[in-house]
């Protein structure tokens, strides 16, 4: 099929769909590279959107163009069958085939796909996802994390041009999430397959995504670069307890006596706990608004290690008597949540210079 060059590496989605108690109405363009997060509360329509992209559900009207080829166009009566869309789909539950062993599951999609250059082979998938010891096992004997890794491998071996992941960690208990998340991060760096990742967990999103679309009530309320979108605190689900900023940083040095690493993010130095890799290692830091407080004078005798020069960019009042401060720190913006009383007593206003005290920083390892 003829494809326009500007449509390459783009996923254009326009859907309208009505169900009994729910409607979906989106018109959005995703990049077909990197990891695009779709975040929002349960019932926002994230899964329906993903199922429409896969062809598992049909919109009442709409159009879907992936990498320049039309997968769905209700006006032109075009609808490519599910099995002819080159996608990988990882469901909430692993959905492994119980009558096949792990190897049989992995080969199921591979056997049904024409070999393409971008696809990884069985050996690579097994190595990437650590499946070597599982190949002969029956799905029923796997842990939740293991099963989901097999499901990811199975989807990858299909040679997808787009990987759709629908809350792949939701059915796994917290303790075992660590068995899967690092592998998803590796997909992006080692396989290079673009991913649309649906989740209602902002931590997961912050850890792995570089693009973010926020969904609420069947609509996309905001979309763009992860760092930028996270600062749009007017959007309801980004302003709650999880409000915070994500910073990209690089390791500078490690202090082995205090077990702290010095990193630089947007021109500012920060101490983060533990050893996070050799100098130059790229890190992603997450700073929650609730963990940041402000002082008009440089604090003395504080136990807080990270005190940063900051300037208020804007103040957003919240109904709960608190306010979110958008603070410029070097070339980054972080959020701080303070009470409105503090705002008034300290006469905070846009342009005020102050010091931000960061109580804790969550560190995500390199995304490459």
């Amino acid at each position: 099929m003829h494809s326009e060059p500007q449509e390459q590496h783009r996923l254009n989605i326009r859907y309208a769909l009505k169900r009994a108690a729910f409607s979906l109405d989106v018109d959005v363009e995703f990049a077909m590279r990197g990891i695009t997060g779709v975040f929002g509360p349960s019932g926002a329509g994230k899964t329906t959107l993903l199922r429409c992209i896969a062809g598992l559900e049909r919109p009442d009207s709409g159009r879907l163009v992936a990498n320049g080829s039309v997968w769905e166009d209700t006006d032109a009566r075009v609808s490519r069958a599910v099995h002819k869309r080159r996608i990988g789909y990882v469901f909430q539950e692993a959905r492994l085939f119980p009558h096949m062993d792990v190897l049989g599951n992995l080969r199921y999609g591979q056997k049904r796909s024409t070999p393409v250059e971008s696809a990884i082979d069985l050996e690579q998938a097994v190595a990437l996802l650590g499946l070597g010891s599982l190949l002969g096992r029956a799905p029923a004997t796997l842990s939740g994390g293991e099963a989901q890794r097999v499901a990811i491998g199975r989807a990858l071996l299909r040679g997808p041009e787009l990987l759709l992941m629908d809350e792949p960690l939701a059915a796994i208990d917290d303790a075992r999430r660590g068995e899967v998340l690092p592998f998803i991060e590796k997909l992006h760096t080692d396989v290079g397959v673009p991913i649309v990742y649906v989740s209602h967990n902002i931590d997961e999103i912050c850890r792995i995504c570089d693009q973010l679309a926020v969904m609420d009530n069947g609509r996309i309320s905001t979309q763009g670069n992860l760092q930028t979108v996270l600062l749009q605190t007017e959007v309801a689900c980004l302003s709650g307890r999880e409000a915070g900023a994500v910073l990209d940083a690089a390791v500078e040095s490690y202090d082995s006596s205090d077990k702290l690493t010095h990193v630089v993010a947007g021109g500012s130095g920060l101490w983060v706990p533990g050893e996070t890799g050799p100098a130059g290692t790229a890190l992603r830091l997450r700073v929650r608004a609730d963990d940041v407080s402000v002082c008009l004078e440089r604090p003395r005798g504080t136990s807080i290690l990270n005190v940063l020069d900051a300037a208020i960019e804007r103040i957003q009042k919240e109904s709960s008597g608190t306010a979110l401060l958008h603070l410029r720190v070097g070339s980054n913006v972080i959020l701080a949540r303070v009470t409105q009383r503090s705002c008034n007593e300290l006469s905070l206003s846009p342009g005020t210079n102050l010091y931000a005290q960061v109580k804790s920083i969550a560190v995500r390892n390199s995304l490459g």
């Binding site: 099995h83 789909y89 085939f97 009558h99 796909s113």
Partner: protein, 231 residues
């Protein structure tokens, strides 16, 4: 000993062979025709579903003579199907083996469709959707995922249709009559023996049928347990 002498030596053997032949053919036809019907029933949201489901289940509750009567009318030389058959082949459907196969298929339909429908419904769509996203077309997903995962349902459908066809009496008597080697089935032979007070011959046949019925049901339950354990 040739088959000929066997049959003359024990005339009931012809009935036995005929019954098994009828059951085997009926089961085959029902598995082929009943599978798509069961699939449709398991997946449709059509408002006709309850009506179709009731029609399929009718033979369970209707007296066999009622079914037999209507089938006799339908398949007879002046009936809708029967007259068409006469035009096509020159022979009548009633009192023929072919007529028996058609009647048995109606009569045993629920015993094939219901277990299959149950199996398809309990399977749900999760694995099928996964297969579709992995590049399997609908028929491919059906044969590679649905059929193996519904194996217990298929086994139940097979055994019940076979056993039920083997044991039918009212319908086949109405439609087929009592022609040795053509429509004289084992159940009719037993009835004949009892009528003529030949209890010994009736015992032989009745015991054969009883033993066989028990054996295939036993096989089914044992196998189903194993299949479930593996699934």
């Amino acid at each position: 000993m040739s088959e000929e002498t066997l049959i003359t030596g024990w005339p009931d053997l012809a009935s036995l062979v005929l019954s098994f032949k009828l059951a085997a053919i009926t089961t085959l036809v029902l598995l082929i025709a009943g599978t798509p019907l069961a699939w449709w029933l398991a997946n449709t949201r059509s408002r006709f579903k309850p009506a179709i489901q009731s029609l399929v289940a009718l033979p369970i509750v209707l007296p066999p003579t009622v079914m037999g009567f209507y089938l006799l009318v339908l398949l007879g030389p002046y009936g809708a199907i029967g007259s068409w058959w006469v035009e096509l082949t020159g022979s009548t459907l009633t009192f023929s083996f072919t007529g028996l196969v058609i009647a048995s298929c109606f009569y045993s339909l629920p015993f094939a469709v219901q277990p299959l429908q149950g199996a398809f419904e309990s399977l749900g769509s999760k694995e099928i959707e996964a297969a579709r996203t992995l590049g399997a077309s609908s028929p491919d997903a059906f044969f590679s995922i649905v059929v193996p995962l519904s194996a217990p349902g298929f086994l139940t459908a097979l055994v019940l249709s076979f056993a039920h066809t083997l044991g039918e009496f009212g319908v086949v008597l109405m439609v087929g009559g009592n022609i040795p080697g053509e429509t004289r089935l084992i159940s009719i032979a037993i009835y004949d023996h009892v009528e003529s007070l030949n209890y010994a011959a009736a015992h032989v046949l009745a015991l054969t049928l009883l033993g066989f019925a028990f054996l295939i049901l036993l096989t089914m339950f044992v196998f189903n347990r194993r299949l479930r354990r593996h699934a």
